[in-house]
Amino acid sequence: MFEFIVNYYNYWMYIGLMMIGFYAMMAKRNLVKKIIGMNIFQSAIIFFYISTSVKKGGATVPILEYAHGHATHGIEHGANAIDVMQYANPLPHVLMLTAIVVMVATLGVALAVVILIYRRYGTLEEDEIMKLVRRG
């Protein structure tokens, strides 16, 4: 059982964060709080992806110069000298770089929209806005 948890806990840690984010996005009435929830939600997913890139057993950063075995001259050694097990999996890192940038882009647009809403209604609470909208 303990073995099982140690093997899998990293896949579960992000789920709690995701639930927190999801709850904030759905249940909070303040619009900025919703955006905060959105941010947490997205970064939880990034957490998951990064978890998949880890290799146990001394895998380091995927920069070929900094490997344990060969000091600096990766270029001369060519392909056969590179031990794949020494480096973390670079693909999820690349994907998540994209996702982070998408995250901040969404954040910018959402904040612009929030400012527009505030300019119109003078409040950021969803229930108050709905009251104003219903009053017409």
């Binding site: 093997n7 899998y8 806990y9 990293n10 896949y11 579960w12 789920i15 709690g16 995701m18 639930m19 999801f22 709850y23 759905m26 249940a27 978890s51 998949t52 890139s53 880890v54 290799k55 146990k56 057993g57 895998a59 995927p62 920069i63 070929l64 110069e65 990766g74 270029i75 060519g78 392909a79 590179i82 794949v84 097990m85 480096y87 999996n89 670079p90 693909l91 999820p92 890192h93 690349v94 994907l95 770089l97 994209t98 940038v101 998408v102 901040v104 882009a105 969404t106 910018g108 647009v109 612009a112 929209v113 400012i115 527009l116 300019r119 119109r120």
Partner: protein, 94 residues
């Protein structure tokens, strides 16, 4: 609304945990994610692109089209902010 969203969140979490039970062990160097495509990048990055930082070479070359899309996302966000908050904007309500 609060209870509903808590239920939805817990359901989502349960589904995710259920799905993760069949995953390869965390940090397993022989999982499909680390053996199928990514070794190619690590092995050939220097030979193909003369770039020791594999993340950069994958980002800008092997999957460069993704990065173009990503830059487009950023550009879209900038244009959207100008579009929404730009100067001289007058609200046209009823």
């Amino acid at each position: 609304m609060k209870i509903l969203s808590i239920i939805a969140g817990v359901l989502m979490g349960a589904a995710l945990v259920y799905g993760s039970l069949d995953m390869p062990k965390w940090g397993d160097p022989h999982s499909p994610a680390s053996t199928h495509v990514s070794p190619y990048y690590l092995q050939h990055s220097i030979e193909h692109t003369a770039t020791p930082n594999v993340v950069t070479s994958v980002l800008a070359d092997y999957r460069g089209y993704d990065t173009l899309g990503e830059t487009t996302v950023v550009f879209t966000a900038g244009m959207a902010c100008l579009f929404l908050l730009g100067k001289g904007r007058k609200r046209q309500g009823k």
